[in-house]
């Protein structure tokens, strides 16, 4: 019987190597898999390239991973947030690299990585400094930039419900990048607040089909980043 569960977050992130590319779901705190990120900090992998829309807040979750010195490079669209000082400090002192990507281009590059499309053309950013030096081409009389797919070794995803096959449902705007990242990573790891048997999720409503998921760990009451930050929690 197919059963993709692992016992705990530690086992969920086992095997990630130094230098790996890790996609982390979430837009701000919505969909941020904090327990998996903390397990990744404990694991100790270094020199990571991390793909996320933002760079975390406070000193928990993604911000804590960055503060731990695990991240060599961030690929994101918006590395500033309220209560975000960890990334800005490292960036200003030249200790972390940033690849800034327009948000829709970031999403599409991740989808392309998951869909076996190595490159595509987009009008976004044409004429701006983010397109400088980039290969461009006209379609229908309009300039477009060639963008390349993004893939990852590992994706860390937060879901509301998973079944044992890895079929996923999300919570509202916590969905954001997660279904795309699940497609684009060699190993996709999901923390789910609820884990159910196959057949308990309506097949018409599945958002991420199980084929994109490798490991499921039950995290029944996931922390909210804003709660932790408000309480002054730091990790570890």
């Amino acid at each position: 019987m197919i059963d993709k569960r692992v016992a705990d977050p530690e086992q969920a992130v086992a095997g990630v190597a130094d230098g790996a590319t890790v996609m982390i779901g979430g837009f701000g705190e919505a969909g941020s898999p904090i327990e998996l990120i903390h397990a990744l900090i404990d694991h100790g992998a270094t020199d990571l390239t991390v793909v996320n829309n933002n760079t975390g807040s406070g000193e928990v979750g993604l911000a804590a991973l960055i503060r731990a010195g695990s991240v060599a490079k961030m690929i994101c669209s918006y590395p500033r947030s309220t209560n975000s000082t960890v990334f800005p400090d490292l960036y200003r002192s030249g200790r972390i690299e940033l690849e800034l990507v327009p948000q829709g281009t970031l999403a599409e590059r991740i989808r392309a990585g998951g869909a076996g499309i190595p490159g595509f053309y987009t009008p976004t950013a044409v004429g701006t400094e983010l397109a400088e030096g980039r290969e461009q081409r006209e379609f229908n009389g309009r300039g477009h930039v060639l963008e390349h797919a993004l893939t990852a070794d590992l994706a860390l995803i937060k879901a509301r419900v998973a079944d044992l096959h890895g079929n996923l449902l999300y919570n509202r705007t916590a969905r954001n990048f997660s279904p795309l990242m699940a497609m684009a990573a060699t190993t996709t790891v999901v923390q789910a607040a609820e884990v159910v048997s196959p057949g308990e999720i309506d097949p018409e409503a599945v958002v991420t089909p199980g084929i994109f998921v490798d490991r499921v760990v039950h995290v029944g009451s996931p922390a909210h980043e804003s709660d932790l930050v408000a309480r002054g929690v730091t990790y570890p």
């Binding site: 701000g28 705190e29 669209s77 327009p102 948000q103 829709g104 976004t124 916590a174 954001n176 795309l180």
Partner: protein, 222 residues
């Protein structure tokens, strides 16, 4: 230098912009001042709000204690979902944007040039660069409106001959709502299509740093 004319408040600017949004439009409102437009959509006009982090049919902030930290808008503020709403992932959300399915977005600005160039994502220099969805919105949405004070706090015009800050998009702006006027981008530069009560065209022109003409006579009566 004469004293600046007294313009609209932020709320009045939002209300002025809201008047021009067509019934049934799909609209993305930028973080900050543009968000306020949602409060001023006229009775009988139904506008469906898109937030690029994956929701169509966004409603107002939740009542205290009823929020979900995972139901947020692009500004990461808690919101609600109205009947008829839908959630979707980021690639679908930006397919709506890039594919030209949204009727309108309203954004803030650092500068707007007379040819419609927009600068609103970076002040250059030492700040941490952060672009978000702004470049996607201006390159994809059918109509791009800007809502901004006519000048900076120190009185420097934000409607300029050409932008000095890094561009968000080239020739993308269709219309600008300021505290002093409603200004379209025409073939020859800025075109004033409406003036705030008590403000003259000459006053607006004096506070604008690019070619500007009075186009009020050509505007269709409301």
């Amino acid at each position: 230098m004469t004293s600046a004319p007294v313009g609209l408040s932020r709320e009045q600017m939002a209300a002025r912009a809201a008047r021009d949004i067509a019934d049934g439009s799909y609209v993305n409102l930028g973080i900050g001042m543009p968000e306020m437009i949602a409060q001023f959509i006229p009775e009988g006009c139904e506008v469906i709000l898109h937030t690029e982090n994956g929701l169509l049919g966004m409603g107002p902030s939740p009542d205290d204690g009823y929020g979900d930290p995972e139901l947020i808008n692009a500004g990461k503020r808690q919101v609600t979902a109205l009947p008829g709403a839908s959630y979707f992932h980021h690639a679908d959300s930006f397919a709506m944007i890039r594919g030209g399915h949204l009727n309108l977005c309203v954004l803030g600005a650092l500068e707007v040039a007379a040819n419609g160039d927009l600068a609103n994502w970076s002040t250059g220099g030492d700040s941490i660069p952060a672009v978000g969805g702004a470049m996607d919105l201006v390159s994809g949405v059918k109509a791009v409106y800007v809502m901004t004070s006519h000048c900076t706090r120190d009185g420097t015009p934000k409607l300029v001959e050409s932008c000095t800050y890094p561009l968000t998009g080239v020739g993308v702006v269709d219309r600008i709502y300021t505290d002093l006027a409603v200004v379209d981008i025409g073939p020859d530069g800025f075109e004033v299509v409406d003036l705030t009560a008590g403000v003259s065209f000459d006053e607006v022109a004096a506070l604008t740093a690019g070619p500007i003409r009075d186009a009020r006579s050509t505007e269709v009566e409301r």
